[in-house]
């Protein structure tokens, strides 16, 4: 297995009376693409700033490569950051922005030029050396910011919602390119975003955060298919969440019906949350289906239709390629392995 590069141990961070991170623990493996995902204000940026050295924890240890680095200044860490609004130096041109870190390291001029050129090529900005920062588009500025960080060959690159300001098309393109870059360069990426789709597309590991706590850590597949609780299920993708009762292993009741499922290990008659993804519902003949309802609304989404089915006063959201008229009576079926049973949150 790959080795732990960064570890956060029992980190607590307060701003005044507000506790942003409370006894926070997780680690980052070498060469991993890890994403901190959560709604705004959940502490993900603070977490990144702690690793970068722009904040100091009130308690706990930040370990880098086996050494505690709590008291190291940002310039003493083998970590570079790509800031949310790029933070490019407006008084310098593209070349000098990218060369900034190398010049400070007193590297020979020829080598600086060579490395800057190579990096600009990597981010597809060849020939932009003498351009002023203010004349660049958002996407180009983004690339300069990435180039400025990776030209220093850091062990870790921290990215704080780097694609937030870009339009959808460009964002998707950059997602792909970032992932490619991470693979070719062999740099550990720590990525912060509130965009769940971005997180699912790019990450090796996702850390789901809310209110300064980690809710779940896992691969994108794990988190999507086996969300640990209601919040994660809601945050990652769209979900139908029902209150249910786990009668015994492999049998769950919700919406007044009993269903076979693949979950076990709950107490007898334990109240649970049941998650069913919109794409996991299938239409069935109303005579045979356990759930029967009426099509309430229908939206064309390109690849699929989003259909809301009203079942005894409750709306079910379904993604399907099949067309149904509004007002149609439909039956709904779901495979046992697509019924996800989760423990109720105790709050």
């Amino acid at each position: 297995m790959s080795k732990k590069l960064i570890e956060l141990r029992h980190i607590t961070k307060r701003f005044g009376d507000l506790t942003v991170l409370d006894d926070f623990n997780f680690y980052i493996n070498e060469n991993e693409f890890i994403t901190l995902l959560g709604p705004s204000g959940c502490g993900k940026t603070t977490c990144l700033r702690l690793i970068g050295g722009f904040e100091t924890p009130d308690a706990g240890e930040i370990v880098f490569d086996g050494k505690v680095i709590n008291d190291l200044e940002p310039n003493q860490r083998l970590i570079n950051t790509c800031f949310q609004k790029y933070a490019l130096f407006p008084h310098l041109d593209v070349f000098d922005n990218v060369a900034f870190g190398l010049k400070l390291k007193k590297i020979a001029k020829e080598e600086i030029t060579a490395r800057v050129k190579a990096t600009l090529k990597l981010v597809k900005l060849e020939g932009f050396e003498k351009r002023s920062i203010t004349t660049l588009s958002g996407g180009q500025q983004q690339r300069v910011a990435i180039a400025r960080a990776i030209v220093n060959r850091p062990k870790v690159l921290l990215l704080d919602e780097p694609l937030g300001a870009l339009d959808l098309k460009l964002r998707q393109e950059m997602q792909y390119e970032l992932k490619e870059m991470q693979k070719t360069l062999g740099i550990t990426f720590v990525y912060v975003t509130h965009d769940q789709e971005e997180a699912l597309t790019m990450s090796d590991t996702i850390v789901i955060m809310n209110e300064g706590e980690i809710l779940q850590i896992g691969t994108p597949e794990d988190i999507y298919n086996e969300p640990k609780n209601r919040f994660v299920a809601n945050f990652i993708g769209e979900s139908n969440i029902f209150d249910g009762i786990m009668h015994e292993d492999y049998t769950v009741e919700f919406c007044g019906k009993k269903f076979a499922c693949v979950d076990k290990g709950f107490a007898e008659n334990e109240p649970v949350d049941v998650v069913i993804r919109p794409e996991d519902f299938d239409f069935a003949p109303p005579s045979k289906a356990k759930i029967v309802g009426v099509v309430d609304s229908l939206t064309f989404k390109g690849v699929h239709y989003e259909i809301n089915v009203l079942v005894s006063g409750r709306e079910y959201t379904i993604h399907t390629t099949k067309y149904r008229e509004i007002g149609d009576r439909v039956g709904l079926a779901v495979d046992p392995q697509n019924i996800h049973v989760m423990k109720k949150e105790h709050r």
Partner: protein, 271 residues
């Protein structure tokens, strides 16, 4: 319709007249000084032909050389020192927490609105309590004291507009804290520093009241020297050389103002 047009024309005419009066009352005195400075008459206001000899005498006459040298050297020194200190203060104040920052700005603004005469007399009292000999040193300290807040006032807005991540990016890329300020913060607030310096310079060069109270009997800048000459011998003592000096100072101020405004405009266009 026609009536309205007529009324508009009257309003326009009245507006024009008022504007004219305003400009005349603002600039007539300056134009008078300018004319007197090129008038070939050593006494009285009658026109006796064009000359530039007063400008020449400004540099050759012994009588005014000392006050001019004093004025200019105080202005240059106090500008340099107050600009450096003011920039450091501004960066410090800006990085404070909001509550403390507002308090510091109020403290900074008090000397700005304080009447010169109060500043002058209180500085004089402090200097005599500390038993400083009034002269070059005390005038320099006084000038630094009153121009410093203007530098702070001009630098702070630039710092506010600066993306706070810029400084962090500099640290991130390997700068020390001081290196980050030097390489990234200063170049991006340079227009504010320059404006502050120019204002400090003009404030110093045309100051009378504070200099009067802090300079003692021996040390004089141009304005206190002129005042002393007037008090001693009446208006007839006002040599046209003084007019020439005033004209030069006025032109310098104009150049500085135009420069500052052009710079500002260009910045706004690119931003």
């Amino acid at each position: 319709m026609k009536k309205r047009l007529l009324r508009n024309r009257y309003l326009k005419a009245i507006g024009g007249i008022l504007t004219g009066i305003t400009f005349v009352s603002l600039y007539l005195p300056i134009i008078m000084i300018l004319i007197l400075s090129i008038n070939d008459s050593s006494r009285g206001y009658a026109w006796e032909g064009l000359t530039f000899k007063w400008y020449l005498r400004l540099f050759t006459d012994d009588i005014m050389r000392e006050p001019i040298v004093n004025t200019v050297s105080i202005a240059i020194l106090s500008t340099i020192i107050s600009t450096i200190l003011g920039t450091i203060f501004a960066i410090g104040i800006h990085s404070l927490e909001k509550k403390h920052r507002i308090r510091m700005m109020i403290m900074n603004n008090v000397p700005v609105v304080n009447p010169d005469i109060v500043t002058g007399i209180s500085l004089m009292i402090i200097f005599s309590i500390l038993s400083f000999t009034l002269g070059f040193g005390t005038v320099l300290i006084a000038h630094i004291f009153f121009s410093l807040p203007y530098v702070v006032l001009n630098v702070i807005p630039k710092l506010k507009r600066l993306d706070p991540n810029l400084y962090e990016a500099a640290l991130d890329l390997g700068c020390s804290r001081f290196g980050g300020v030097w390489r990234v913060v200063l170049p991006n607030i340079s227009t504010g520093i320059l404006t502050g310096a120019l204002i400090a310079f003009t404030m110093s060069i045309d100051d009378f009241v504070i200099t009067y109270f802090t300079s003692g009997n021996e040390y004089m800048n141009v304005s206190t020297w002129l005042y002393a000459a007037l008090a001693r011998e009446g208006r007839s003592s006002l040599t046209p050389v003084a007019y020439a000096y005033n004209t030069i100072i006025f032109l310098m101020t104009i150049v500085i103002i135009v420069f500052v405004n052009l710079k500002k405009e260009r910045k706004e266009r690119t931003a």
